[in-house]
């Protein structure tokens, strides 16, 4: 039975360490596996490791599953785990972050290993599902002991176009950006619900084409589907929209680092350094209107940078800032800008769900309290090229979205909220350099706290400070939006991953 689906982007490579990006990892997760797996609800369950336990705060022991074979017939052993971890740390790999969470791996026997972490890390296993295990012999045989580098020579890399994993599906053919065909691995070690024998994946860039292909019955599933098309899907015969909250939070950031705001008519000072100005901004935004009109009721307006699916989520802080234009005007006047000021909002226009539309709405809402926003909406490559560290954070006001890779709030804090610190590799995505030493302290502590309750309390405290400071303007959690034919049942995972293990074709 064949399952055909389309996604907006493409599978750029088959090398499991080449790119740390959710679609690539989600798709290769059907071919390769880590020591742990996600279950349908994104909970961690044993994968290639049968079980694990913490020996000391910094050492973990993993019992590896026996009798697992790679697609090529090789046995899965401890050597493969060590090899894969090392490979993830070599040049060309984009999994160095995950590699660096582990200081060393010692082989106890063929099916037992001990991992040592540089510091106590209570959530180590959270990062294991996407640290894929390759076969050592196969890799060495084909000379692909390090990941495919773009700076390399013309020879290419075997793992880039071939795969040999332990997962439930094998690659049958793969033409980058054109089509990939996967077939069922009959020797898979685990019982899984799917009855699919072949999966055909085609990237379809244009949303209308994607939707048309679904409605016309050519495909069984497409994603993402523009939110405004849900109604149409539900009205069409044989297809429906499958929606749910994604773990991605969309928010707007302010430049609070510079002494003079870029792209503004205010010279010599930076209004965003004033908490009242930031507060005025957040109170000017009608999140419900954005939800209703732009997201067709599907987003979850939020007051927090971490979504409910994320470990450390604080329910009580999640309510958005109130929509109150009068208060906003008053705050602006109080801060010395009764007539508002001008600022440029940087916005991607092909990255997040209706990103440009959100920015436009924000622009017009701010106009109503007197702030004149120039909107610079650009495709993601130009946008990120401008706002990220490589260009020196060339922005004063920007829209961004974030899904913590580890599904833990610590990632949010250390990426988005702590002060920018290039040496410590912290706060890299804190583009506006919101900086509160108290939060930095807390984040450091959270990083090595193994007591979950204490840890969560500290997370809550940090988030509370950010919220009071109005460090960011959270917008919403964006919705997952899939279009599915009645012919199939799929599981929609909160990180937008499609796990073929749970795809069932109904007859």
């Amino acid at each position: 039975k064949t399952f055909k689906f389309a996604f907006q982007g493409d599978l750029s490579s088959l090398d499991p360490h080449s790119l740390n990006e959710s679609f690539l990892l989600g798709t290769l997760g059907n071919v390769y596996e880590g020591l742990a797996l996600y279950d349908p609800n994104m909970q961690i369950v044993p994968g290639l490791a049968e079980s694990w336990k913490i020996l000391t705060p910094t050492t973990w022991e993993f019992k590896l599953r026996k009798g697992v074979k790679f697609h090529g017939g090789q046995d899965f052993t401890a050597d493969d785990v060590i090899f894969s971890w090392e490979r993830a740390g070599r040049d060309g790999s984009d999994q160095k972050v995950r590699n660096s969470m582990i200081k060393s791996i010692t082989k106890v026997d063929d099916h037992t290993i001990v991992m040592e972490t540089p510091a106590p890390n209570p959530i180590l296993v959270q990062d294991l599902p996407y640290l894929f295990i390759m076969d050592k012999e196969w890799s060495e045989e084909h000379g692909t002991t390090s990941s495919t580098s773009a700076a390399g020579d013309n020879a290419g890399n075997y793992a880039n176009l071939h795969a040999n994993g332990t997962g439930p599906f094998k690659i049958k053919s793969h033409e980058a950006d054109i089509k990939s065909v996967l077939v069922r691995n009959e020797n898979y070690w685990k019982d899984i619900p799917t009855n699919v024998s072949e999966v055909i994946f085609t990237p379809i860039k244009e949303a209308p084409t994607r939707v048309a292909a679904l409605i016309s019955g050519e495909l069984d599933m497409v994603y993402p589907v523009p939110v405004q098309d849900w109604e149409r899907l539900d009205n069409a015969k044989g297809v429906k929209a499958l929606t749910g909250p994604e773990a991605r939070t969309i928010f707007i950031g302010f430049d609070q680092g510079r002494d003079e705001l870029l792209y503004s008519n205010i010279k010599g000072k930076n209004p965003f350094k004033d908490q009242r100005v930031r507060a005025a901004f957040v109170h000017a935004i009608n999140l419900d209107a954005i939800k209703e009109k732009i997201m067709r009721g599907a987003a979850t307006p939020t007051g927090l940078l971490a979504a409910p699916q994320v470990n450390g989520f604080v329910e009580s802080l999640n309510s958005p800032y109130a929509y109150d234009p009068e208060k906003s005007k008053a705050l602006l006047a109080e801060a010395g800008y009764p007539d508002g000021f001008e600022v440029t909002l940087d916005c991607p226009n092909n990255r997040y769900v209706n990103d440009e539309k959100i920015c436009q709405a924000v622009t017009s809402m701010l106009a109503k309290v007197g702030v004149k926003v120039d909107l610079l909406a650009q495709p993601k490559s130009k946008y990120f090229g401008k706002v990220l560290a490589t260009s020196g954070y060339d922005t004063s006001f920007y829209l961004l979205g974030w899904t913590p890779g580890s599904m833990d709030a610590e990632n949010v804090l250390s990426s988005l909220i702590v002060c920018q610190n290039a040496d410590a590799k912290k706060g890299m995505f804190n583009l506006g350099n919101y900086c509160n030493p108290k939060v930095d302290e807390l984040t450091a502590a959270i990083g090595s706290e193994t007591d979950q309750a204490k840890r969560n309390a500290m997370i809550a405290e940090a988030f509370k400070i950010v919220k009071d400071d109005v460090g960011y303007m959270p917008i919403h959690q964006q919705p997952l939006s899939w279009g599915v034919s009645d012919r199939v049942t799929v599981n929609q995972r909160a990180d937008n991953g499609l796990d073929y293990r749970y795809v069932v074709i109904n007859e």
């Binding site: 790119l19 740390n20 054109i178 085609t202 244009e206 084409t209 495709p379 490589t390 890299m428």
Partner: protein, 324 residues
């Protein structure tokens, strides 16, 4: 003639080098490739290292020089995104694009020229006025809209034709063809119509305008005075005399079809070079863009050379000029 072709080929090398040079000076305005090559969690240091490794910090002349030297050895580098040799990526898509442009070009000429002649002759007729108007609607609506409307109508409502892709293809060596399977042929219909619509209008109107002038010349009058049948007067004598601008434009449009059928290829998810290229622009995949632009430059030089040769074939008056 041989020396003419040789001269052109020499010039084409210069053209391609210039294109590469301009391309390299332009890349930094397109965006930063690094962000598309790494995940969001990748550290700043790793990003910087990657930038350094790719040589993106070098002055663009150095980057250009490196590219030119490698290209001279037939090495166009490795795609940042796909990490495969650029040449094989482009080659993989070449057949899709060429087949699509070929069909569109044939459609354009086979429909456009006769309609142009018809509307020139029957300018006052209702049918010809209708054709003229309809064709203009075809050009004034954006390609993406036309594509989507066609998909909606033929793909979704009637379900006659596929909505995306190339259908099943048959591989003949490195060339893949969709001409040999039913689904391949069906898949060609909508994109080629979408692509041809604009060209058709242009050619049709061009032929019409030129025909109107030629039909008033003395030699057409004399041809009529000799009693030649209309078919011969119109197609043999009049049409041939309109060909110089038509060939020019056809050549240019064919080049544009091959090179930049971007929107059509995106709308129909046609796995061709245009799609690869637009994707490369949005991913700032510099090796693909550079190699592609150079290839396109070569295409255009060749197409325009053929056009220039055709001038001489079509118009003997130009021949005498060149040969002495």
């Amino acid at each position: 003639m041989i020396s003419f072709i040789f001269k052109r080929l020499v010039q084409s090398v210069i053209v391609m080098l210039t294109v590469a040079l301009i391309a390299f000076s332009m890349f930094r305005f397109i965006g930063d490739p690094i962000n598309n090559m790494v995940g969001q969690d990748t550290s700043q240091a790793d990003r910087a290292a990657l930038t350094e490794q790719l040589g993106l910090n070098d002055p663009f002349l150095v980057q250009f020089g490196r590219f030119a030297l490698n290209a001279a050895e037939g090495n166009f580098g490795i795609s940042y995104k796909y990490r495969q040799p650029v040449s094989s990526l482009i080659l993989e898509r070449l057949s899709a694009t060429l087949e699509l442009s070929l069909v569109a070009a044939i459609l354009t000429l086979v429909v456009g020229i006769p309609l142009g002649v018809y509307t020139a002759l029957k300018g006052k007729g209702l049918l010809s006025k209708g054709i003229m108007t309809l064709s203009l609607i075809g050009v004034s609506l954006p390609t993406f809209l036309i594509g989507i409307l066609l998909i909606l109508f033929f793909g979704v409502m009637l379900r006659w034709l596929p909505t995306f892709g190339r259908g099943d293809v048959v591989a003949l060596g490195w060339w893949t063809t969709g001409f040999l399977t039913l689904s391949g042929i069906k898949s060609l219909i909508l994109p080629s119509i979408t692509l041809a619509l604009f060209q058709m209008t242009l050619i049709m109107r061009l032929v019409r305008a030129e025909m109107l002038e030629v039909l008033r010349t003395d030699f057409i009058k004399f041809a009529r005075a000799r009693g030649l049948p209309d078919r011969s007067v119109h197609f043999k004598h009049a049409l041939k005399n309109t060909l110089v601008p038509v060939i020019t434009i056809t050549g240019l449009q064919l080049g544009a079809l091959i090179a930049f059928a971007i929107i059509t290829e995106s709308v129909f998810q046609w796995p061709g070079m245009g799609l690869l290229f637009i994707q490369a622009i949005s991913d700032v995949d510099i090796p693909i863009m550079a190699a592609y632009l150079v290839l396109i430059a070569f295409f255009f030089v060749v197409i325009n050379m053929i056009v220039d040769i055709l001038y001489y074939a079509v118009d003997p008056r130009l021949r005498a000029d060149s040969s002495v």
